[in-house]
């Protein structure tokens, strides 16, 4: 059995929004989310925009203070402790490589900054060598260190972002849509690099994306989120072959497949309407307003997130009936 590296229990993240006078209202961005990530695995988190997948990733890194729930890292509750020592172990790669690099710093300084902050280098020479090694590791070369981010293409910038995350020798990296801003031909390069780095350094990833094909490719297990809730969780092959939740089914059927014969025959399950507002989510099951199988029970009770065998979890009242 591999060891659990990270676990979140009943994670909740509410953001206050301006309501009527004397009345507080909240965006319920993440609500009662439970999952764990084993050491050395890649856990994928998918969902539409606004479903809370990015917020989950950021809350785990305590970039937001969680409203409620627990974050457990290697058996230790890190929800409210001083996070500084854990920053060395847990890092993040952001979505937009154009916005996440300081335009006025050289690449060498960008990659070197975490080394300085955590005082990992004893001398200037050591710092320099570390930066060079990091750049080489991500497929850049030493002459790139003196250049500025604008001189690089999107794929190269994402490599710089990854080198910065690797600078502190982390164990766990949150990859927040790291490839969605890149061109198709470059995406594959970056995905392969993530896989190579995982092999070489024994990294654990939380891979957040909305592109299901990529998530399936890279992940061992996948969680599907809808409106702040985790609705289904399973091994990636199992999830694609045997989706239980109606939302997962429609999500999978909507993936555009680059194969005309397959996609012409495929039936799409088109969902009616739009995602409701997370300020005032539907009662009971949050998906019920768009679910073709919703009953009265779905409006009254929140479905339990249950194991349906072999670690395949889902939260739906009507599993087995439809």
């Amino acid at each position: 059995m591999p060891e659990k590296l990270l676990e979140v229990q009943h994670l909740q993240q509410y953001f206050p929004v301006k309501g009527k006078m004397f009345q507080k209202t909240f965006v319920q961005a993440v609500d009662d989310v439970n999952f764990h990530i084993d050491e050395g695995e890649t856990f994928g988190l998918v969902g539409e925009s606004g479903c809370g997948k990015t917020t989950t990733g950021r809350t785990i890194l305590r970039l937001y203070e969680p409203t409620d729930g627990k974050i457990i890292y290697r058996g230790e509750d890190i929800t409210h402790v001083n996070f500084a020592p854990y920053r060395k172990k847990m890092q993040i790669v952001f979505q937009d490589p154009y916005a996440s690099l300081d335009a006025r710093m050289t690449v060498g300084d960008i990659v070197g900054e975490p080394i300085d902050i955590h005082k990992l280098a004893g001398s200037k020479k050591e710092r320099h060598d570390m930066i060079m090694a990091l750049l080489e590791r991500v497929g850049l070369n030493s002459e790139h260190a003196n250049r500025y981010p604008h001189e690089f293409s999107g794929g190269q910038r994402q490599r710089i972002g990854i080198a910065r995350a690797l600078a502190v020798n982390p164990e766990f990296i949150v990859c927040d849509e790291p490839i969605s801003a890149l061109d198709v031909s470059i995406q594959a390069q970056v995905v392969n690099m993530f896989e190579d780095l995982q092999q070489e350094l024994g990294l654990t990833y939380l891979f957040i994306a909305h592109d299901l094909a990529i998530v399936k490719h890279i992940s061992n297990r996948i969680g599907v989120m809808y409106l702040g809730k985790l609705v289904e969780l399973a091994e990636s092959a199992e999830l694609y072959k045997n989706p239980l939740h109606p939302y997962t089914r429609s999500l999978l059927s909507a993936i555009p497949i680059p194969d005309p014969k397959v996609s012409r025959e495929k039936k799409r399950i088109v969902l009616e309407g739009d995602v409701p507002s997370p300020v005032n989510p539907p009662s009971g099951c949050r998906f019920r307003t768009r679910c073709p199988y919703a009953t009265e029970q779905c409006a009254l009770e929140v479905p339990e997130f249950k194991d349906y065998g072999g670690g395949h979890y889902a939260a739906c009242h009507r599993i087995g009936q439809v």
Binding site: V184, A188, L212, I257, P258, S263, R264, V275
Partner: protein, 339 residues
């Protein structure tokens, strides 16, 4: 081949350049294709491949330092490359329309949806204000909007992304144009909404018999809706043909690489992705030969020296790659040896 009367759009040897302080950026070089009435053409390419610029030139909306420097565009009887701004204004909206990637920025936030829709109708038709409003409500219903009367009075910020894109489609189709250009129509939308919008576009196309150009970087999007696909790289069409030909019998190495680099969702085994190595070329100094040569793993000496000619592989399937020439040469040589 079909008769000429079926041809809606005929682009010949189109060149578009941007004259920047750093030099001439050749965004589009010798693009040639035709489109028939009712056809859906997909233009696929990376950012900077010239896919948007080539389509914008049909409408005369290339941004400032850009100019058409050569070639001809014949659209529905107009010689587009010679048209004045006044003539363009008449044609845009009524004969040719466009929807953009980002529905958030294409609508005016200070006017109601109804206001923006009727404005367009009043400009291009002789209808009265009352008639225009009725038509606008009808259009919103057509694109699948609930309670269109109520929606007319709302502002863009009250709509979700998918709904805004529906408004854009309603606006684009208001005058039943002959050609709709959809520039990455679904890129900013979620997967479940993407499917809705694509299906809507194809259904409406059948209703009013228009042609559509879908510009995208996602091969998945074009695979089931397009009749033909053009693959662009560094300002050139490197391959064009029927959808099935492009997917199942790609001839250009860039198309081959593009297809290989996408993960297959219906496969059980975990296969490593095969990326196209390297980065796209600099459009400021295009290489003398094939623009893809530096990233091509089957690159030959001639590829670096000369641009490969367009060769018709099968009916309507045209590609520009020296490998095809080589294959054909070897075929004829082989034939001679046998004899």
């Amino acid at each position: 081949m079909n008769t000429n009367s079926d041809v809606l759009l005929d682009i010949k040897d189109l060149h578009v350049s941007f004259f920047t302080p750093a030099g001439e950026v050749k965004a589009v070089t010798s693009v040639t294709y035709t489109m028939e009435h009712g056809e859906v053409l997909g233009i696929v390419g990376e950012s900077g491949s010239g896919k948007s610029v080539s389509a914008y030139s049909l409408m005369g909306i290339i941004a400032d330092p850009g100019k058409i420097v050569g070639g001809s565009i014949n659209f529905n009887g107009h010689e587009v490359e010679k048209m004045t701004e006044k003539e363009f204004r008449k044609m845009r909206g009524s004969e040719i329309s466009i929807i953009f990637q980002d529905p958030m920025t294409s609508l005016n936030p200070v006017y109601t949806i109804g206001n923006q829709l009727t404005e367009m109708l009043r400009l291009h038709t002789d209808k009265t204000k009352k008639e225009c409003e009725e038509r606008a409500i009808e259009l919103l219903g057509l694109v699948g909007m609930n309670e269109p009367e109520k929606r007319m009075k709302q502002y863009p910020h009250e709509f979700s992304g998918g709904m805004r894109q529906r408004v854009m489609i309603a606006m684009a189709l208001a005058c039943e144009p002959k050609l709709l250009i959809a520039d990455e129509p679904t890129t900013a939308l979620d997967v479940t909404i993407q499917a809705q919008i694509l299906e809507l576009m194809v259904a409406l196309k059948k209703k009013i018999n228009m042609s559509i150009i879908i510009i995208t970087h996602d091969l998945g999007v074009v695979s089931d809706v397009c009749d033909r696909i053009a693959v662009m790289y560094a300002g050139k069409i490197v391959e064009i043909g029927k959808t099935d030909d492009i997917f199942y019998n790609p001839k250009h190495q860039y198309t081959v690489g593009l297809l290989k680099s996408i993960p297959k969702i219906n496969e059980d085994t975990h296969e490593r992705l095969i990326p196209i190595e390297g980065t796209p070329v600099d459009l400021l100094n295009l290489p003398a030969g094939c623009p893809f040569a530096s990233r091509c793993d089957k690159c030959m000496k001639i590829c670096l020296r000369e641009m490969p000619p367009y060769t018709e592989v099968s009916e309507g399937h045209v590609s520009a790659c020296w490998l095809i020439q080589k294959e054909e040469f070897e075929k004829t040589q082989g034939g001679k040896h046998d004899a």
